[in-house]
Symmetry: D2
Subunit: 350 residues, 4 copies
Amino acid sequence: MLILMENQATEAQIQAVCQRIEALGFNPHVMPGATSTAVGVTGNTGPIGEDPFTAMPGVARLITVTRGFKLVSREFRSDLVGRDTRVQVGPDPDAAFGNGTFGLIAGPCSVESQEQILAAAHAVKRTGARFLRGGAFKPRTSPYAFQGLKEDGLKLLAEARDATGLRIVTEVKDTETLPMLADYADVLQVGARNMQNFSLLEAVGATGKPVLLKRGMSATITELLHAAEYIASSRRDQPGQDDIILCERGIRTFETITRNTFDINAIPVLKRMTHLPVIADPSHGIGIASDVPAIALAALAAGADGAIIEVHPDPARALSDGAQSLSPEAFDALVAKLRQLAPIVDKNIP
Amino acid sequence: MLILMENQATEAQIQAVCQRIEALGFNPHVMPGATSTAVGVTGNTGPIGEDPFTAMPGVARLITVTRGFKLVSREFRSDLVGRDTRVQVGPDPDAAFGNGTFGLIAGPCSVESQEQILAAAHAVKRTGARFLRGGAFKPRTSPYAFQGLKEDGLKLLAEARDATGLRIVTEVKDTETLPMLADYADVLQVGARNMQNFSLLEAVGATGKPVLLKRGMSATITELLHAAEYIASSRRDQPGQDDIILCERGIRTFETITRNTFDINAIPVLKRMTHLPVIADPSHGIGIASDVPAIALAALAAGADGAIIEVHPDPARALSDGAQSLSPEAFDALVAKLRQLAPIVDKNIP
Amino acid sequence: MLILMENQATEAQIQAVCQRIEALGFNPHVMPGATSTAVGVTGNTGPIGEDPFTAMPGVARLITVTRGFKLVSREFRSDLVGRDTRVQVGPDPDAAFGNGTFGLIAGPCSVESQEQILAAAHAVKRTGARFLRGGAFKPRTSPYAFQGLKEDGLKLLAEARDATGLRIVTEVKDTETLPMLADYADVLQVGARNMQNFSLLEAVGATGKPVLLKRGMSATITELLHAAEYIASSRRDQPGQDDIILCERGIRTFETITRNTFDINAIPVLKRMTHLPVIADPSHGIGIASDVPAIALAALAAGADGAIIEVHPDPARALSDGAQSLSPEAFDALVAKLRQLAPIVDKNIP
Amino acid sequence: MLILMENQATEAQIQAVCQRIEALGFNPHVMPGATSTAVGVTGNTGPIGEDPFTAMPGVARLITVTRGFKLVSREFRSDLVGRDTRVQVGPDPDAAFGNGTFGLIAGPCSVESQEQILAAAHAVKRTGARFLRGGAFKPRTSPYAFQGLKEDGLKLLAEARDATGLRIVTEVKDTETLPMLADYADVLQVGARNMQNFSLLEAVGATGKPVLLKRGMSATITELLHAAEYIASSRRDQPGQDDIILCERGIRTFETITRNTFDINAIPVLKRMTHLPVIADPSHGIGIASDVPAIALAALAAGADGAIIEVHPDPARALSDGAQSLSPEAFDALVAKLRQLAPIVDKNIP
């Protein structure tokens, strides 16, 4: 940590800061400048809380150098040099994300009926994708909007899995329904609105199941990694510690012509900072079906380890998110393009 | 709702849209324009979901006119013409927010010790404020940061209430700890990160207790009202339906010199849209102790019905948020200024 | 400046950084940490460019401590301790901004006709305000929108000045029309879109006239001060060096229910960082006429040194910005409230 | 246009709105709803100004359907069905952007010396790129930063063109230096800070030269198209009307770990809205050299018609933007990847 003192800070204030640093067991380094003084802190092995210093007289600003996450950082898995964590779901070695494998998740926003989810599942299966998405519990902005089929939806997802062999990815709503959901799901999806629901992160962590963690709509990249650290630390040194898939799904900006602004930068930046796989959600990232393929291809080109894409057998009749859902035909065409592109960026689509 | 068709939309596509409108029991109004056609929808009494239309061929864009909240809207309480809902907490008629009463909540970010919380409570009491804040369960970005004293913190808050008569405002962390927290708290605070944790909103609603609902850091004003609607609708026609206090606490923008950007605009806009009281959190809104009074005064001048302010007996030793906490002396001076300002904007500070 | 090295930086890379620091005539301070090393730079009297270091091997991040502005900083006018620069326009000592004086500028968005501008001027004059605003050259997003009356508009403004004695504030469009505009205007307004038009800033600076500098819609507070420094440095040690009035007018955020987000935080923060007066534009800051008074009062409460407010004799017939313009009656009522509030925050409205 | 009336709007207010619509020569369509009334406007052939309606009593909100740009819209060039405008610079048919051709611009941020710019030019030439970038006039946030070599820089660029045959792309600073700059440059670059400098847009338009127009850092996609319309309309029906290349270069958001947020969504959205070529600036878009290739590949995958990339013979010694500049070797490797990717998305890199 670096502590910048105010221009007018007195010698006594600087000394007080140094004493507090020493009291915490660290070493102060006073660096007098032409207009102000900075005090460096060394000797720490983890992050130093800002709280002991922020309100001390004469302190202008703190600069944190050490980060608040560790298990998910690339440095922590230095044994993986040049390689990433690979999250495999179930016994099929091709149902996986990361370390060269580009995993594809597709399906409707919400499970609506047996006919709909089976049609979607067969369409997804046909392309070679290994994962079916579908919401049974839907968090909605208004209390009066369709909230999902709940356990009936989960049962239909299980039926689709039995029929196709696809692995099921579905969103967790809360800790109350988590045990039921975990009985049906293969991958537990934590949605954008819950990225900083820390109790839910810990509960999801405790299940040991693979997790798909979406970035919050105004979360920084660093905050996403801290959220992942909550999951990893709640299953530390246990199986599944690294079974966390990060997902960029668009952030909220001033631009309103698109539903969100897909932060393509997040992909290479995350790949440098963490060993975990990073996938893209182009459907929410742009929110316009005809533009989803462009963003999906871009994400792969930028180094993503997978994608989650909304596909509906009849988008015009979807109960939710129809405007951003691909038809099965459009999805077929997209997967064909992704397969052409993958080898150029050293990825494999099973 | 207004449905804008694409420039190249065909007559058949326009007819299909009209038929779907009629199938839902509403009336279509076709408006041909020079370059494109719009179709208006009337006959609805509540909001119409966008989903049946977004993905229909030829549809360019939907414009929603009717809103997804009702119980919290100003129109719903037209019996209150010219007056607002007043949320009173407990038997003291001066422990209240709204309809002319400016309520003051103050205290430390976290409960740290008996000595600290009692010192804070007495300092708050001395100014005439009726509410003590203090966190016992702290949601923190990193899993390794101080997470609060938990039930011990709640007991210390109850002790401070016994000693001073102040009402207790404290943050809810999750549905698991809610029942315990509701045993101690007078007002349940829903933090910014939980504003769209819909299960928690419903659980908080079911307690019937007064709720302080903070705006999410990237939530729109409309989304805040939808979140309040979740609480109100879960206690509809029961006591406490309107006991919801909204709180502007700063939004996330590109500006980094301040912790957040306090959205002063939200105050008059919310006051026009809802009958509920609207208060300000200038401590998080700017994050710099020396500037908190300026923002608190601004919020009152803009029409706020109260404020929640971080006050610590010794900010330089605070375990969290010291940089934005006022000393008791600074808080005294601020309350004196607020009392001078209040009558000019037709508010009363008990 | 502080240079953070990457975790894996080698000893040779650290040495290379130190050598470059010394080659520039400064002093390196190596601070080894548990996971990475930082190198502090001291001995500089002005800002150090980042460019010599950013791309050196092993460098992770630079942290700039010294700022790129000087003449406009509060420290530069330490002779003014506890007092601010006061910008007086013309011979009337009450036509001023800053150091306790709250200056009021009002008038229509655009000059539309002789009748309109004279009616507006008389309405403004009646309240005691000393400044008339009115646009003659209007920068508009679309090339097909009304662009202003140009020199005819300037002549009408001069006529209104002759009739009322009000000082004229009008927006500069470009360097070509600046000399003509400077012949008519008392205060040159630099609009938000031109805040980083550096050639225009220098040209405006060279006129020696008082300048009203608006914050760009996505400019940081620091960038606003750098823009002011361009003006001040282009008239350094000449009359008028400090005749610069800064204006917060709302920033662009994700919130769309208001035209902009008025950044109330900018007022106290700027007041700490600079000796220049800081005024508010609540009309653009919120964009909704009925809410403008709330924001104007808030700005004064937060410490603003003035306000610029759109007033139109008949807002419903305005050629531009009618939705945010006050009627003369509404403006009267606002000024009465501002006069009540001013003494509480130690301001004087002449 | 659609005019939404307030819930409490009276019949007389609705009639007044209809009368004003008719007075302007358009047709009103009253649509009564359950809670409020909307009035549609038809009969217009261009955009209707909002100003006549915004401040009328009873009007709640306006919704603009017709856009303020025309010449640059895809509909305007419907003769190009399925094809885009192709901007060719000079006699070489391969020095072009759009309609299937992916054009590459590369070179240093600033021209620093003869040796530097010639080394850069030869490195760029070697890859097959046809365009050399290099700034001679540099707009800088602080008045004390390096401002470029000015005319000496232009002369060095011309020398590099003579030596390599590359076409020169360089940034326009202001209307004063535009004629000189236009003497040397093949493509006039309008930088992000000048995107809404309308006088400069018109002056650049009047030269008839190809223009590279960068998106402002907080400009919406629609505002970028309006800015392009300024250029096109100032050379309407003259040669060069369509010689405008749009450039996405990253927008300003809350994320601070990257210099800007590259808005990949803008590429497919712009390609649907305009017939003009759209290129990417990944160097400014992410600001971290090691991540520039990922973003460049993503932009091509999303449908971009070219890229402008900072390349410096010795990034560690660059006078500006070293941290985001590629070495010649890194640029070689990137171009090789781009060439592999191009045919998959139906592009040709000459």
